[in-house]
């Protein structure tokens, strides 16, 4: 199994989750302040990157994806908490490690593409999801995702 999926989600302050499908419907107040998660799945494995969702999606696409198109290391510094995730690519796998929890090793290419894919879905739902967003806000995100996608080798 080499596929990696990425699911997005939001969590209301009271802990109520919003699945990505729910997110797509929009109408979630204070979205821009809401935490959420970027859940990486690979087979039975799962790894969540939890953070301010706006920050998490954008940062993963902007920071991690372009940095790991080849072997290398990218660090995701959380916005809403103190965890730092180290993404290390060696060949075809990317290992995500944390000081606080067991890491996960995922196939590199599928991961990066899944992240970009998630970013694209996220950007697509932003107009409905983000009330009060300025066009340039959405454009900024879209730019980040586009840049990330562009960094990937062509399929």
């Amino acid at each position: 199994m080499t596929s990696v999926t990425v699911e997005l989600g939001l969590m209301q302050p009271d802990g109520t989750p919003y699945t990505e499908a729910q997110m797509a419907k929009g109408g979630i107040a204070d979205f821009d302040s809401m935490d959420g998660w970027v859940r990486l799945r690979h087979g039975e494995q799962s790894f969540d990157v939890g953070d301010l969702l706006l920050y998490a999606v954008g940062t993963l696409c902007e920071t991690v994806v372009p940095e790991l198109t080849g072997d290398g290391v990218a660090v995701y510094v959380a916005f809403g908490h103190q965890e730092e995730l180290t993404f290390t690519r060696k060949g075809d796998v990317i290992t995500i490690s944390s000081a606080w929890r067991p890491g996960i090793t995922l196939p590199a290419e599928p991961l990066l593409r899944a992240l970009v894919g998630a970013g694209e879905r996220f950007v697509a739902m932003l107009p409905a999801l983000w009330e009060g967003a300025l066009p340039e806000d959405i454009a900024d995100y879209a730019g980040q995702v586009t840049a990330a996608a562009a960094s990937l080798p062509p399929t």
């Binding site: 802990g15 821009d32 799962s46 301010l52 920050y55 103190q82 000081a99």
Partner: protein, 1179 residues
Amino acid sequence: MTKKGKAARVISDEVRWGIDLAEYMSLSHDDGDYWGDEEDDEEAGPSPEELRRDALYDELDDLSPPEGAEESEIQTLTTRKDAVVQALDVEDIGPGDIANAEALMLVAEQEVQAIAKAVATRKEDRRLIAADFDLVKAVEGEIKPHKTRIDAARLKATEALSAAITGASNDLARKAVDLLAQTVKACATELSDLGGKDGVDQLCKAFAIDEDSLALLDDAFGTRDEVIKAVKGFGSAEALAKVTAAYGAGPAGAKTMAAVMGAMGGPAALAKAAKDIGGPEKLAALTAKGGLKPSEVKALCDDLGPGFIGALMGSGDDPAAAIALRTEFGGDIAALTDLVKEAGFDTKPKTLAKLLTEGCKGKPGDFKALCKGFATSEDRAALGGIVGKGGLGDAPDALADLFSEGCKGDPATLKAFAKGFDDDGKREGLGRLMAAGGLGGGAKVDKGGLGALFQSVAGDKPDLLSEAEFAKTRAEALAKLAKGLDGADCTRLKTVLEDGGLGADPKVLGHLLGAGCDKGDPAKVKALLSDMAGDTTGLARLGDLLTAGGLGAKDDTGTKTDTDPKALAALLDPGCKGKASDLLALAKGLDANDRKGVKALLSKGLGKAPAALGEVLNTGCKGDPATFKSFVAAFDADDKREGLGRMLEAGGMKGGDKVDAKTLGALFNHVAGDKPTGVSDADFAKTRAASLANLSKALDAGDCAKLKTTLEDGGLGTDPDVFGHLIGTGCGAGDGAKVKTLVKELAGDAPGLKGLDDLLKKGGFGTKDDAKAATGTDAKCLGHLLAPGCNGDPKEMLKLAKALNAGNRTALKGVMTKGDLGKHPQVLGKMYQHGCLTDPNGTHTSAKNPQVLKDMIGEFADVDGPRIFKDMLTKSGFTEAGKEDRFASVLRHGFTPKHSAPKVQNGKTLRKLANAFDGNFGDLKTTFEAIEGAPTHMLEADKPNAPNRPGKGLGNLIHSPKFGGNPNGAKKLRADLFVPLKTRSTAPGTGTESGWGGTPKMTNVKDFLMTAASFEHKPITHATVTVGPPNMSMNMSHAAGRHSRKHGKFELNTSPHMGTTLFDCDTDETKIKTMVSTGLQPGNVARANGGAPDRHPSQRPPLKRRTPPLDQYDLDGNFLRLNGTAGTESNRIGVGHTGGVLKVAQFYPMASAKPLQLVNTNDFIALNNALTNNTKAFL
């Protein structure tokens, strides 16, 4: 007629005419002419017969009476001769005539012979009479009157013996001699009867007469024989003289005496009476001083008995008492005589007299009543029993005192006493007490011992017994005691009496053996005597204590004290719990100075309060001599001693119907409150004593009057320990000013006092309820209710007392007694202090709100209420040492909403809480311990007079969104909070959680509990706040809702392995805003990636990041991670540039002077689920 015949006729005539024979004979022989006439008749020759006749005549002529013949003899002879003459004087004398004449002649001759013989006989008789005369001797010691009499008789005898010897003269002589002899003998006898010469001399001297005047006595007595009878009757002339002299000098006195003697039935009777009465003077005094007639003297003696009369006179001779007594009895003397006879007083007159003179105070009427009181033979026999075998007959003083003092002059009581000794064993025991035991009196033993013992042996009279019934009780007790003490015991008793000074203090003795020995219990008295008699030093000191210590009736200067005689007994029991050895130890433990102090103290009032004194030693000193010394020493000035006296008397603390005698002892025991740790008992005793002494001094008469009212009407008098603690604990260790305020407020509030009385007796605050049943309530409860409960304000205590109705009191009693709250006064006091406030969020000194208590107890008024209350109290740690304010904290803060109205306590919630944990109070205890053990950054710490824990933590739980506050908020606290958290604490790590390394899960339920309790659920006032000018906002709802315990809304971290960081409990939205605002200021802010921003984030133009980047903001992108420092706080401040605005989108603490708590996300979820209705699934 013949010559012879003629002569014969003449003789006959002469005899017939009484001529003296001898003279006649003389005449016959001397006158020859007479015979010459016969010759004229010779005219014829004589015949033979005539011759013979002549011869016969001649013979006849020769036939003369012998010398000494008496006339009768001569007459007889003449007759004989005349018969011859007549026989011869015939005309023609014949032979027959001659024969006849011769025969007659023979008769005459025989007559002559007979006469001769008679003469001889008379001579011999005379000789013998003379010889007898010679034998009559003089009387030895002859007195003059006798000599006169004897001389006269002797002269008559001499004269008689001198008379011619005839039968008649002999007879006369014989008679005279006999008379002489008889006279001599009679005089001798008389002299002897009179006591000889000495006796006569005494008589003469006594009657002021000489021997010659003895006849005067004869006149006085009637006859000499009477005199002699009197002498004999009195045994001696000396005695008679003595007796007679008593009636006055001289014969006159004798005459009086004789009259009395006559009336009395003779000298013997008089002598006996004189002896019995105590001497003749006394007997005579009946006449002389008493003015009694002889018959009256006899009547008096007959009625009263001389011995009794004499005894009544005592050492004097005044018969007034006896006379008055008889007068009193009038004609009804049988009551006395029967008593005398049947009760054995006939041989004990002095004893009987004492009964009148001292026993009846000399009042005849009383004595008569006494006699009549013993109306039946059975009564008198009973009295005889104690007079006889009981030894009282030989102890008149003791018997008199027994009646006057022991029986208070009541005959019925004496009768009861006598009947109490209803067998010989008891009577003999009484006898032992009187003799071997020394109670009969002696040099060192007062006569009043028995009376006092009888008076006191059974202690105080129970109200239910009549005087008569109690007299019987006393008698039985004393009789039992008497029977129970053997000879050795009695010997010891005597030793104790004589060497221990008790003999001189009978009342003290009586009470000592009575009240001091459990109402004269023989075993205890034996033990007492055994302990005491063998301790010579102890007895000596006991004696000193009685005198120098002022415990006795007289002190060491002989001055009468006013110390109650019960005082020593009280020191024995309850003071020494009846152990005599301890009493002696006390006596020995006191030196001269101590005794002086004791005396001074007793003299100022304590001496009149024996029961209180005993309890001072018992309750206040626990029987310890050293403590007693401290007590005494503390009262080192009269103002203190007098103060104590005031408290006892005016303050009512000496004891009475409404005030227990233990009150003073209890006050001494508790006046200084609880003994501080590390202070010795001895030192604390001094502290206590000083406190009491100072308090005594502080309370004036007015205060004491109020104190009395307080004690009597407030129910405190019958609950001394409660009172003691009220003063000690409740009034700042007996602070005078506070006590004055206390009694002022209490005494001035009658309804309040009634309420207080009810609170004690019906509300379970007393150690005994209104049925006098022990409640089990600690006596400290009321004291703790006052302070700290009411912060020492009596008005607040009264307010509570008055606020309670009957139902409230019943419920309160249930909680106090069955619910065990009464066993934990400190818990109770703090509970009311903090738990029943009108403003629980204010200070503990704010006004009380009794309603909270009423609500609380009302919830436990059901059948199971007290049980569950008790379980909760004891099993949830409310009563643990050092946790006495746990309950207070719970009630004050646990049931008071902190952030929602009404911010008042709700007592009803307690029952809900109890129900929630019933059967599992250990879990509640765990909860409390968890809260109490929380770090101070999690939960507000306790402060002085502010027991914040566990109450505030519990309050946070109860008033959490899930539980919803009072009262039902506590209802499911265990099921819905404790249990889930417990479960969470013990759950193994599962799924994703198992591998989390960021934030370990909590494994101790206490950690869960304390964390849960640290959330206050305070609503966030402003969801969005401006934290930086002019356009930087912050989502406070998010920041505070996640990281603040104050406002926490359990917002989960989306990075579950990281958990959630919680600020300390003081961090609220305001502080967060300040921290953010401050942290963003230049100098305080740093970029997370390093370096400081070159300007305030709010001044980040342009908002759109630029490509290529022109400054650091462009490099950071839309989300700026900053570290903002505000004082000791360092926080991550995430500034987001979204939506065209800058806002603080993320905020969490990174470092703080106070520890931050990082909570595992699933733990956080568990807390969320426990405290909110927003149940979340575990990750």
